[in-house]
């Protein structure tokens, strides 16, 4: 029962460095998402994907790129990290809109804490 798994769980970067966060889900979900969580601001959507090979921008996409080469994986990349990207990042997945299992519930990973110095 792995569900949604994120790696790494913690990372410290220097300004300008690049990194990739990996999200893997084993529930055969069509939809996957990347959110960031900052104090007092709730969760904000960065990018999302409605299927293998597709991605779309969310509310706060600047400075991030994503890829969904395989259905079970969703990668979040930071090309040149900035201190403003210090945050906790959550990956989530869900069934698609028209699937029998779809009820709107998102399944979240445990989060990845990123600090940019």
């Amino acid at each position: 029962n792995a569900g949604v798994t994120q790696t790494p769980k913690f990372r410290v970067l220097k300004t300008g460095q690049s990194m990739t966060l990996l999200c893997a889900q084993d529930m055969n979900h069509e939809y996957m998402y990347w959110y960031r969580q900052d104090p007092g601001m709730g969760l904000r959507l960065i990018h999302y994907s409605v299927g293998e090979g597709t991605t779309a921008k969310g509310e706060v996409p600047d400075g991030y790129n994503v890829s969904r080469l395989k259905k079970q994986n969703f990668l979040l990349g930071l090309e040149s990290a900035a201190p403003s990207q210090t945050s906790v990042y959550f990956c989530a997945s869900s069934y698609s809109l028209n699937s029998a299992g779809g009820n709107g519930e998102l399944f979240f990973g445990e989060g990845s804490r990123l600090t940019v110095l």
Partner: protein, 112 residues
């Protein structure tokens, strides 16, 4: 501008008390409202509400939606220390199934 506002931002109660959390929203093409509980790590799903006036209940937790006045409440009765968490409200719009727009959350602390 779309927004989801939760109140209060935080509260402290004693075990056994009843807690009422509020979530108001102003979004275009509202589809559903969801409640999540977040302890130390990942948010976990509590309820999804789409219809006005129909209460959803799970143990000591219950929630109801008012689509006319654009708000939802989450009630926790006979609180326990294990109810201490941040409670998140989120709304979905139109066909954007998983594009949840979250409120800032309400932090609940239940003291023994």
């Amino acid at each position: 501008e779309d927004k989801v506002v939760q109140s209060p931002l935080s509260l402290v109660v004693h075990e056994g008390d009843t807690v009422t959390l509020n979530c108001s929203y102003e979004v275009t093409n509202f589809r559903s409202l969801l409640w999540y509980k977040q302890e130390k790590k990942a948010p976990t799903f509590l309820f999804m509400l789409t219809s006005s006036g129909i209460e959803k209940k799970s143990g000591r937790l219950s929630s109801i939606l008012d689509k006319k006045e654009l708000f939802s409440i989450l009630n926790i009765t006979a609180t326990q220390t294990g109810d201490s968490a941040v409670y998140l409200c989120a709304v979905t719009q139109g066909d954007s199934w998983g594009k949840l727009q979250f409120g800032a959350g309400t932090q609940v602390v239940v003291t023994p």
